[in-house]
Symmetry: C2
């Protein structure tokens, strides 16, 4: 008997649900109580039909002829994404990027909570960022096992990222978000996502130059 993969939500949809959550927060702050798929879609920069299909994955939540209740929809999405429970994360590498991540308010409101910040540079250790104190690398394993960390974020230079990845997985972390420009290898069962800040820029530039020469030649 094959389990027909019920209760699965496409990854592309999950990514957009996170965006809807942010947009809904804005509508709620603005005092709106209901919103239509058209309004929500335009504020999120997506197609209305696609938005409705996305929402259909979490079970019908709107009222035909009216729209969606802002508060109810927000809670529904937050529950599905797990944003109502607080998940512990550690962040390794507090250069400018790491510091930006540690400071970013968006994580807290989405159910993420840093329980440890780590850096190898002695002069960074002890610094306070976003309400936490930067710890030396030697404390990494103790914090991971001690605070039930489920996610590790790597924002170190490329050279040490693989080694950090290994320490995190050895300590029990099963999900890793990597901002260092190297492809990490991790044991099966560990989920690694790679974010390369320059890739988006490269795609943007390519689309721009392609638009400039719509069906043109390649320069010889």
């Amino acid at each position: 008997m094959i389990q027909p993969r019920l209760r699965t939500i496409p990854e592309a949809t999950v990514a957009r649900l996170a965006v809807y959550l942010r947009v809904l927060a804005g509508f709620a702050d603005g005092g709106r109580t209901t919103v239509s798929s058209g309004e929500l879609a335009s504020a999120a920069g997506v197609n209305p039909a696609g938005l409705r299909k996305d929402l259909s994955h979490l079970g019908s939540c709107g009222v035909r002829g009216v729209g969606y209740d802002v508060r109810a929809l927000r809670e529904r999405i937050a529950r599905v994404l797990g944003a109502e429970q607080s998940r512990a994360c550690v962040l390794v590498g507090l250069g400018n990027l790491g510091t930006a991540l540690a400071d970013y308010a968006g994580f807290g409101s989405r159910g993420f909570r840093f329980t440890g910040l780590f850096d190898a540079a002695p002069d960074r250790v002890g610094e306070r960022i976003g309400g936490l104190t930067v710890q030396p690398m030697t404390e990494l394993e103790a914090t991971v096992t001690g605070t039930g960390v489920s996610i590790g974020v790597i924002a170190t230079p490329a050279e040490v990222a693989q080694q950090i990845c290994e320490r995190l997985t050895a300590a029990g972390v099963r999900s890793i978000l990597n901002f260092a420009p190297v492809t990490l290898t991790a044991p099966a069962g560990v989920d690694v996502r790679q974010v390369d800040l320059s890739v988006e820029l490269q795609v943007l530039a390519f689309l721009g130059q392609q638009r400039a020469v719509p069906a043109g030649e390649v320069s010889a």
Copy 2:
């Protein structure tokens, strides 16, 4: 007569080409002169067949039975992505994230060059970051028109991002990369790409929790 969209490369492929470029640089530094699709694919974290299909979009460049010439492939990809010409960019917003972007060495090696850094805070103006001096916002338009900027990068707080977007487009910028957590609206003909750092984290967390409860119930 319908133009059959020749000379078009899928967006997903473009994003991966940027990754291959980085990986090839590593192989070249390591003294490798040829590389197979299998090696390259595993170093880039993709499927070998997919890599070959990606490369096929730029015309055959490998040797059957042997592999790819590292240097030739690198040049080929760089040319297609436009990375051999230097493209001027401006960066607005020099908080931690903006500073990280300004400092990031990966941009220069990929054909991007910042010609202006701008911040609204008077105490940041004058600071030197990555070889440039931070300028006041009043100078934005002059730099954009004066240095032929093709790409604008926004790393400001969410509240002012839309306004910056308008100033950039009014000054003639046609491609914008936005790191602020708001959906920007721009006139037709302007390409805006949105990067939300917390979305990746949210997707990662979702996949992790989904794996923990493979075909399970929703908590009541």
